[in-house]
Symmetry: C2
Subunit: 405 residues, 2 copies
């Protein structure tokens, strides 16, 4: 087997969210009947239930009307859109200065930003620290670039304040030569926010050991009542040339269909990301970039209402999930994810996920996508039709009865 073959064996996408349609369905032994009900796909948000920011399509159409200048932007994105976006991001995150010429790149989604940032930093055999659990692509990116994954555990069930990151383990890893630390905040899949102390300590450790940080803040606008959010970029502890922050309008704002994201921070890393973008896909779709005008420029009250609606769904789902015997779940602090832990089952979590899909018309993502040890958890994106989501939890409760050990 050659090395590219080995690399792709580790890159399985079969259980990745949205790929369920490509799974092999045969030979599943179902216990009990199929349970009727409205199909709910918790693998990602439902942009029909929560529609894109009003005016986003108008911005796209205006982009098309601008013509060639909008179709062929610089690889790092349209200068005008970078200027508008940099100001909004500096204001939102409290970052001292985001120079639109040097410190910002527009990418095809935050996935694009992650790929470009990781590819710009990782050399073969570099030690890269990632959190367990965290976004499923993080591990795959390290493996694709032939780095070495160092997991830092997050004890999210036992932390009283903050995410519960093991900071001693993080320091040990930094001491042992980790080059880069990548984490999502709020955490995907758990939906918890790192506390100000955790963020300060992460920044201090990275500064002390000269470690680079990529922080994925995709869901940082959707913070629920009683919680506050700390932007690492605003701490002024870490050398800003060692930091990249990633955001985008794909989630709360429901603009995923436009494939837009941004990365800001280190000018050196942004330069490399642009060079890589040039050979990966040239640029984020030119006309699509114009849609960023609507971002952080939503109609008055729109964002507050969206957050309130999600908080209401969260409340109902958390209550329902906790009422299923053996289920355990930490309530979401920000973002649209829940990561319930299930009781011991007679089937693997991957099998359980398939069963749920076939028997109850409910799609969730197995915990093992987020770290190898999460064999007893699954992720749900609850940005869904409220009542359909609630009903789906009832079906999950029924299905689980048939497979309890």
């Amino acid at each position: 087997m050659d090395s590219v073959e080995k690399k792709f064996l580790k890159l399985g996408a079969e259980n990745a969210p949205g790929q369920e349609g490509r799974q092999n369905n045969d030979a599943m032994n179902l216990v009990g009947d199929r349970i009727p009900g409205r199909s709910v796909d918790f693998s990602h948000g439902d942009v029909d239930a929560f529609q894109p920011i009003p005016g986003s399509l108008d911005n796209f159409v205006e982009g098309v009307q601008v013509g060639g200048k909008q179709a062929y932007t610089e690889y790092r994105g349209s200068k005008e859109i970078r200027e508008i976006t940099a100001g909004k991001l500096a204001a939102f995150t409290g970052s001292k200065k985001i120079d639109p010429e040097k410190n910002l790149i527009i990418t095809p989604g935050t996935q694009g930003a992650l790929f470009l940032a990781m590819g710009s930093v990782i050399s073969r055999n570099d030690k890269i620290a990632i959190v367990a659990p965290d976004y499923f692509a993080n591990r795959k990116l390290v493996e694709f670039f032939e780095g070495e994954v160092v997991y830092i555990e997050m004890d999210y069930f036992h932390s009283v304040s903050g995410a519960g990151l093991n900071l001693e383990k993080l320091e040990e890893a930094f001491k042992a030569g980790v080059k880069l630390f990548l984490f999502s905040n709020p955490n995907n899949p758990v939906g918890v926010i790192y506390s100000p102390d955790e963020i300060r300590e992460i920044a201090e450790l990275a500064q002390a050991y000269d470690v680079q940080i990529i922080v994925d803040e995709l869901y940082s606008r959707q913070v629920f009542e009683g919680h506050s959010y700390t932007h690492l970029a605003a701490q002024n502890i870490l050398n800003p040339e060692n930091l990249i922050t990633i955001m985008g309008p794909s989630k709360t704002e429901s603009l995923s269909g436009y494939r837009l994201g941004v990365a800001f921070g280190s000018s050196e890393i942004i330069n490399r990301m642009e060079k890589l973008q040039a050979i990966v896909s040239l640029r984020a779709g030119g006309y699509n970039q114009a849609v960023l005008k609507t971002w952080f420029h939503e109609p008055e009250g729109w964002m507050a209402q969206r957050i309130a609606q999600h908080q209401a769904i969260r409340d109902d789902l958390v209550t329902k999930l906790r009422s299923i015997q053996g289920f355990k779940v930490r309530s979401t602090e920000a973002g649209s994810y829940l990561f319930p832990k299930v009781p011991e089952l007679t089937v693997t979590i991957e099998e359980f996920v398939k069963i749920l899909r076939i028997q109850a018309n409910v799609i969730v993502t197995p915990g093992t996508e987020f770290g190898p040890e999460f064999t007893d958890s699954f992720r749900m994106n609850f940005s869904q039709d409220h009542s359909a989501a609630v009903e789906a939890i009832d079906r999950i409760g029924t299905v689980v009865k048939g497979y309890r050990k």
Copy 2:
């Protein structure tokens, strides 16, 4: 310097088409005055002069209206759009069978297709054969994936029929262990078509030496009078699992602003490309994919007229270029590129390109982007306003006088 730093040093994008705005302009010693005239950017086609296929924006808007299903397609692209597209590509190329489930992926532009295909095949230290001259990203892709570039020369000025590829050199390279051969047909930057004999021999050699082939057929619909085109995929010589063909609607069809491309062929390579897509940018923009409905479905006569208009521009430009003392150019057979050779100058080709931009408002791409030895050539994309393009050649003729050796 660590290995990622070295890698990025080779990935310079400063002279890449479209990046001219980021160049340092100081300290250029201009000979003579600035020459007024309409600015022409020959680094890429002008989608204001040649507008996107009628109806493409309508297809996008319909995609937005479809909603979540269109926003979140499988990573390889919407099943419905793959089905429509596979049939059209099989008919156009004469390929026996393109199974939309197995043999086709929709990508963010043909650049995306190239990146994913190369990343799916190249292991570190693999020998990869590419043509000199050929598309500027080919070399960079091999270097990014840490393969070893083996150049195969194309003697385009002396070939009487065909592109002039050195087939003996190609066989030697295959014998010496080349794993993959990548080439564009029609060739970018020269605009020549490989003859049926050349294509047959390439396929036979690859089959004999078990070499994989990626053929970039981006411009294969825009074939001028008196020429015919041979699709490698239709030859049934090479094992179809060793072949990937790349196409897209960014050029002749002017849809570059939508970032759409496709790759078809080997199911194994397409599988890997999808896994890689999952971590690179998830998918081609969901709504954007809907625009592929318009591809190969243009209004009656639209494509014929577009080709005729380009042929007329080509004729005028070739005549004009040949009238400049010391210029030499092979006439385009397909596509929108010309790759004139200039007389000996007192400045390097990169300097000359900057001078042209500053002194004459004309942007072209230095030949060195297409192969290190092309220090005496530049590339022009003549998909431009006809009269503006013609006038720009006059200005090039005037500027060249000041820098002739």
